[in-house]
């Protein structure tokens, strides 16, 4: 019997796969079996995550590019090249100091650059109000859909007063 995958070498391995409760059986050669196994092997050897970040920022370590990374954070003094090497920022102000590089990096890691989760009560500032406005707007829509217009008017006033706070 020939391998069902490559149709060349003799089949020596019986391979059973279950995907979504569907069982498929295949007779394959040793070579193909190993390849299938490797394909299925989902995780690469564990690199140190921090070292990979530098690569994500699009730098290579050639000296000509390094000269463009002489920028340092005014607060903690770490240089951009150190961040690329270590993968850790030195303080919160690094986010501003290296903004041009960090924002694209964050987008590459998370697929977005905008926080939508929890906002702290005291240090959240405008973000907290914005989040509340967003929530009220959803409530407003619900009230309108249910034709509860009195309630909707109330919510609209709340939104207006919050929006004033932002100005």
């Amino acid at each position: 019997m020939k391998c069902e995958r490559c149709n060349q070498r003799p089949a020596t391995v019986h391979l059973t796969q279950v995907i979504n409760n569907q069982k498929t059986e295949m007779n394959v050669c040793e070579y193909c079996a190993r390849e299938l196994q490797q394909e299925a092997w989902g995780f690469a050897p564990q690199f140190d995550l921090h070292h990979l970040l530098g690569g994500l920022m699009g730098y290579d370590y050639s000296p000509s590019i390094k000269t463009g990374m002489s920028q340092t954070c005014p607060k903690c003094g770490i240089s951009q090249s150190r961040f690329v090497k270590v993968g850790l920022l030195g303080c919160t102000e690094c986010y501003e100091a290296f903004e041009g590089q960090i924002i694209p990096l964050v987008r590459r890691i998370h697929g977005t650059g905008q926080h939508t989760g929890k906002v702290p009560k005291r240090t959240g500032g405008r973000a907290r109000i914005n989040k509340e406005i967003k929530m009220l707007k959803e409530k407003l829509q619900e009230a309108v859909n249910r034709e509860e217009f009195e309630k909707a008017a109330e919510i609209r006033d709340q939104i207006k007063s919050l929006e004033k706070k932002l100005q």
Binding site: V18, G42, L53, I109, V119, T123, A127
Partner: protein, 355 residues
């Protein structure tokens, strides 16, 4: 006296083995990363700054309102503990390996039931963790969220409207939330389907790591699955996504176990009882062997093939057979053979008490 108790007493709440889906899910963990405004991150901080983080957190812990909600929680500097005690906290999953490095600048706060731990000056100023048995991510999030609110009433967190909670590493920015679940997947492993599962899960933006193992190897068929993305999703969205993937994984693992028990009954039962027999009788037991046999017996317990044991005993055995616990019991450094002798003895004693 949370921390002292934790290094002397093996039991922790997460090991109780009684949570939802406990035949497959060992524990659920929520971790929140937070930093204080205006202070360098731990990787750049002086001893003095490290101390001021301790003081700020100490102040928050002793606040009257905080204590009404969470009781008295003690802050212990890692430098006050012996190296073995520090490692035991790690082996119990109450602190991370990173907290052991440069330990003079680090501290930990632990609740009495060991459900809550707060690591200070790990990669971020605060890393609070809530660890529960079984699949209980939502509940763990509720506890961690409340703890976070309680601390935030006193502490000024670094926060940006665009990027959320600011963290030392940009991979944690946004919610600062890492949700993870420890699962036991012997069925899928025995049917050689584990790699497909891992592959599929990784494509959904989740990370799979083998537990205790080196690199990609999972010891004792224990895997930790967690979210990778922390920005752009709400905390609830992250938790719901992980929970629903885990539920599918549970279904697959149960099917695999059923198929194994149906198609290879004697081979499976033989494997389980050989493992049980070895654990009960071995005079030398390496760490790898212990993990492997505990996994087999755990499968037996959850398929009702072995009925004299519980998941709790097995969870305790996993921690009791780790190197630091053995050294603590011996009260001295051990050679590798001495460790294997001691490990076998501890396992025999523990199991002989059960029948």
């Amino acid at each position: 006296m949370g921390v002292r108790e934790a290094v002397n007493n093996i039991a922790a709440r997460w090991m109780d083995g009684d949570g939802p889906e406990h035949d497959i899910v060992i524990s659920s963990r929520i971790r929140l990363a937070r930093n204080l405004q205006g202070m360098a991150f731990p990787n750049q901080m002086s001893h003095q700054e490290a101390d001021s983080v301790f003081h700020a957190v100490q102040l928050a812990l002793s606040d009257r309102h905080f204590r009404q909600q969470f009781g008295d929680m003690e802050l212990v500097r890692l430098g006050e503990l012996s190296p073995v005690e520090r490692r035991i906290l790690m082996e119990k999953h109450l602190i991370s390996p990173d907290l052991l490095k440069d330990h003079e600048k680090k501290a930990v706060v632990l609740s009495d039931d060991e459900v809550i731990s707060i690591m200070l000056n790990e990669e971020d100023h605060l890393r609070m963790q809530c660890l529960l048995p079984g699949l209980q991510l939502q509940k763990a999030w509720e506890i961690a969220n409340k703890l976070d609110d309680g601390l935030e009433a006193i502490l000024d967190y670094a926060f940006s409207e665009q990027l959320g909670y600011l963290t030392a590493c940009p991979t944690n920015v946004g919610t600062g939330l890492r949700a993870s679940v420890m699962v036991h997947l012997p069925g899928l492993t025995m049917l050689n389907q584990i790699n497909q599962v891992i592959n599929a899960v990784s494509k959904l933006g989740l990370t799979v790591r083998g537990l205790y193992g080196e690199g990609t190897e999972a010891m004792g068929n224990l895997y930790q699955i967690s979210n990778q993305v922390t920005l752009g999703l709400t905390e609830e969205e992250i938790i719901n996504k992980l929970t629903s993937v885990i539920k599918q994984l549970i279904d697959q693992e149960r099917l695999a176990r059923k198929a194994l028990h149906r198609d290879q009954k004697y081979r499976l039962e033989d494997r389980i009882f050989r493992a049980y027999g070895t654990l009960k009788n071995a005079r030398l037991l390496t760490s790898d062997e212990a993990m492997k046999y505990i996994s087999d017996v755990r499968l037996g317990v959850n398929l009702n093939i072995v009925d004299s044991l519980s998941n709790k005993i097995l969870n305790e055995l996993v921690v009791m057979t780790r190197p630091a616990y053995l050294v603590k019991q011996a009260r001295r450094e051990l050679s590798s053979q001495e460790r294997d002798i001691m490990r076998a003895e501890i396992v025999r004693n523990k199991l002989s008490k059960q029948n």
